[in-house]
């Protein structure tokens, strides 16, 4: 449903779209130039992934997906881990992100305003969306990539490679966050 609304918005006028893109330039989710070279994805797919990953796990008081190298992790996983069907799902899903972004906002997904980007992803999560499986697959990968990254494991979570002792009953507040492993 949200996707439909965005499409209507796109027909609403060039000015609105332009305004949104301008706003997008100042936001964190926007990366005009990709800081890494994809190996499994096209440059366009990688830009869409880069933006989507940061939306899924944004920087907060701890680094986000981009700073944790998650887009590279996803690119690597598509190239060296996924079976062909999964890889195709992710590639075509990323292509579709740009198609939907152009339809909704007149620009590539990475160049849209965060609110527009978010609306597209939220639409994907809705029941009946053709991009639902793509989105949940991407979200799982981004989440895994993030929480197994060094910043994710050591800053967003608590990581202790060699705990030494085991204590079975500890107040959560003394640890503060979930264990990474």
């Amino acid at each position: 449903m949200r996707v439909g609304m965005n499409r209507r918005q796109a027909f609403g006028g060039f000015a609105l779209t332009f305004g949104a893109v301008s706003f997008g330039l100042t936001t964190q989710a926007r990366a005009a130039v990709l800081g890494w070279a994809p190996t499994a994805l096209t440059a366009e797919q990688a830009r869409a992934l880069d933006a989507a990953a940061e939306l899924i796990v944004p920087a907060t008081d701890t680094p986000g997906a981009r700073a944790a190298g998650v887009p590279q992790f996803v690119d690597r996983t598509i190239g060296g881990w996924c079976d062909p069907a999964q890889a195709a799902l992710l590639r075509s899903g990323l292509d579709r992100l740009d198609t939907d972004a152009r339809a909704a906002g007149g620009a590539a997904f990475a160049d849209l305003a965060p609110a527009q980007q978010g609306a597209i992803l939220a639409g994907y999560e809705a029941t009946g969306s053709a991009q639902r499986l793509f989105f949940s697959t991407l979200r799982d990968l981004v989440t895994t990539g993030y929480f197994t990254s060094k910043p994710g494991a050591t800053l967003a979570l608590r990581y202790d490679p060699v705990p030494g002792a085991y204590h079975g009953c500890v107040p959560l507040k003394t640890i503060g966050r979930a264990w990474a492993t």
């Binding site: 899924i56 999560e125 929480f147 990254s149 705990p163 030494g164 085991y166 079975g168 959560l172 979930a178």
Partner: protein, 575 residues
């Protein structure tokens, strides 16, 4: 040629040969060498040196090649379709310790999960480390119920050997004073977490015949001087055991028995050595040694010894014996009873209950305990109160409580979701039953000459299934777990039965059972082949019944006891 052969024989003759270097081969090596015998261990797989050959032991999550170390689906499908049935085992962290199924074929007449690792140390590197003694009722059950054949040993005779093994390997656990689960030589128990403590209190109050205890596990919680001297250290609660422990804190052949054996100066380990048969000297009426195929060069060779210990794991020891045919042993080595390959058992598991636990949101734990809780058997203990009319024997539960981590299901995206996942999720509680499987003569392994492995050797066909007794027990395993969780006040309690294949317990047992009568058993009371006194078989194949407890401790105790017998018999000239 004759002179060459004489020289080869002289250079390749040992006091003892051990086939296999896993949990029992390692024990045989330690005991035989410490008792003065020059010993050769033949291992079909490659060398794994303690610590040095644990390449992933300290790999951080961000240094894996694959997401969470999971192998690519295509790799699992091509190389590990059977090994992966264990569900958790084969990962980027551990795959070098598992066989590739495409290289090690066998035939499943009925589905059977044969999960194994071929390398020095074998599955002692991969085991679950749970250590429980068979109880007096376990050793008496077959005789009392007329099932299979009687064990030729009883608990009092085994008890000192259990003591001996536990003292060396180091078992952390809590003494409970239960007849059905004898206490042992324990190092300090690991702690239960808050939810487990609460479960224990409530479940025991509601069901006085049931006990909840911490798992008894082969981890050093307070190493002895002997263990420290071997280079072993205290458990660091990393729970990365299957990668190999750089602290030597859990027991394996690599960290303990082979180290002790090596220090005697009497141990020789030869990796890449597939024992294809036992050499039998018809004139002397005894084994002469073994025939070996070098897995690297394809060369065939012979090694000789006074005494041979088969410790190749249940199915592979059965394979060696089935493949050792001669005029004397037409249907397999020491197989006049036709019991070789029969009575295969495993523990049936994958059934129990799980629940959610509200009320402990403010509590957590620190460290990763490589152990869970244990509920010892509470059915059919010989009294009226615990007797069941619907099945024989019983089961125990392993399990525990924990909080969900970042990998739990979480809808949406963005900062709120991220922040939520940086906090621990809900508590969950799970019990997993481990049930005794009865011995059935037609649950068996047979030699299959039609399917050859990459060396051209015949392979095994496995034909094993659960029967009525096991199926009836599984229903109770589910019900009894759920009722304990209900009694504990847990929420959303539900039973489950994943119906795994036989073999999934990875406790293969019974293909060359012990017994008193050579007509109905392959081995005698000392694990000696009835028909060939200088060959001993001391791995899981010797088991006469399965009990419901993890079997490795019993294999180790039987092995140490058998070596004691062999060395004493050899001294007397009786081998």
């Amino acid at each position: 040629m004759a002179r060459l052969n004489t020289r080869w024989r002289a250079e390749n003759t040992y006091d003892a040969i051990i086939v296999g270097s896993g949990i029992t081969g390692g024990w045989a090596a330690k005991e035989l060498t410490e008792k003065g015998l020059k010993t050769l261990v033949l291992e079909r797989g490659p060398m794994v040196r303690h610590v040095v050959d644990y390449p992933t032991a300290t790999t951080d999550p961000w240094d894996t090649k694959y997401p969470s170390g999971r192998l690519p689906p295509a790799e699992l499908k091509a190389h590990y379709p059977v090994q992966d049935r264990a569900g958790y085992a084969v990962t980027e962290y551990t795959k070098h310790f598992f066989v590739r199924d495409d290289e090690e074929p066998y035939t499943e007449a009925k589905p059977f999960d044969w999960i194994r690792g071929y390398h020095v140390g074998g599955r002692s590197l991969l085991w679950g480390r749970q250590c429980y003694r068979h109880s007096p009722i376990d050793f008496e059950a077959n005789a009392r119920e007329g099932i299979g054949i009687d064990w030729p040993v009883r608990y009092p005779e085994m008890a000192p050997w259990y003591d001996y093994v536990e003292r060396f390997i180091g078992v952390s656990g809590q003494a409970e004073g239960l007849a059905q689960l004898p206490d042992g030589v324990f190092q300090p128990p690991m702690e239960m977490n808050c939810v487990e403590i609460d479960f224990k209190k409530r479940a025991e109050a509601r069901f006085p015949e049931r006990r909840v205890t911490i798992g008894r596990a082969a981890h050093l919680t307070k190493p002895t001087e002997e263990q420290i001297a071997l280079g072993r250290g205290q458990c660091q609660h990393r729970n990365m055991c299957m990668r190999g422990c750089p602290f030597g804190a859990y027991f394996s052949s690599n960290s303990a028995t082979l180290v002790a054996a090596e220090r005697t100066g009497r141990l020789q380990i030869r990796p890449a050595s597939i024992v294809t048969s036992i050499l039998y000297d018809e004139k002397k009426g005894r084994a002469d040694g073994v025939k070996v195929l070098d897995a690297t060069t394809g060369e065939e060779m012979e090694f000789y010894a006074d005494v041979v210990f088969l410790c190749a794991s249940t199915l592979n020891s059965a394979w060696v014996m089935l493949n050792s045919t001669s005029k004397r042993f037409e249907n397999g080595f020491g197989n006049a009873s036709d019991q070789l390959g029969r009575n295969l058992m495993d523990h049936h598991l994958g059934v129990g209950a799980q629940a959610e636990v509200p009320g402990y949101e403010e509590m957590y734990y620190s460290g990763r305990r490589p152990n869970g809780i244990y509920v010892p058997r509470f059915r059919n203990l010989g009294d009226k109160a615990t007797a069941r009319s619907d099945y024989l024997r019983g089961f125990g539960y392993q399990g525990g409580a924990g909080r969900a981590g970042w990998n739990r299901k979480a809808p949406g995206f963005g900062a709120e979701r991220k922040t939520a996942l940086t906090q621990p999720g809900p508590w969950a509680f799970r019990l997993i039953g481990f049930g005794e499987t009865l011995p059935y003569a037609d649950n068996r392994a047979t030699l299959n000459p039609a399917v050859k492995d990459k060396h051209g050797l015949p392979t095994l066909t496995l034909d094993v299934s659960l029967r009525e007794n096991e199926h009836a027990m599984r229903k109770d395993m589910q019900t009894a777990a759920a009722e304990m969780m209900e009694a504990a006040g847990f929420k959303n309690v539900h039973g489950y039965d994943m119906s795994p294949n036989p073999g999934n317990g990875i406790h293969e047992m019974g293909a060359a059972r012990m017994g008193r009568d050579p007509k109905t058993s392959v081995l005698n009371a000392h694990n000696q082949v009835h028909e060939c006194r200088n060959v001993y078989v001391t791995d899981g194949s010797a088991m006469v019944s399965a009990a419901c407890v993890n079997p490795s401790l019993t294999y180790m105790a039987l092995t140490a006891r058998a070596v004691d017998h062999a060395v004493s018999e050899r001294r007397k000239g009786n081998l």
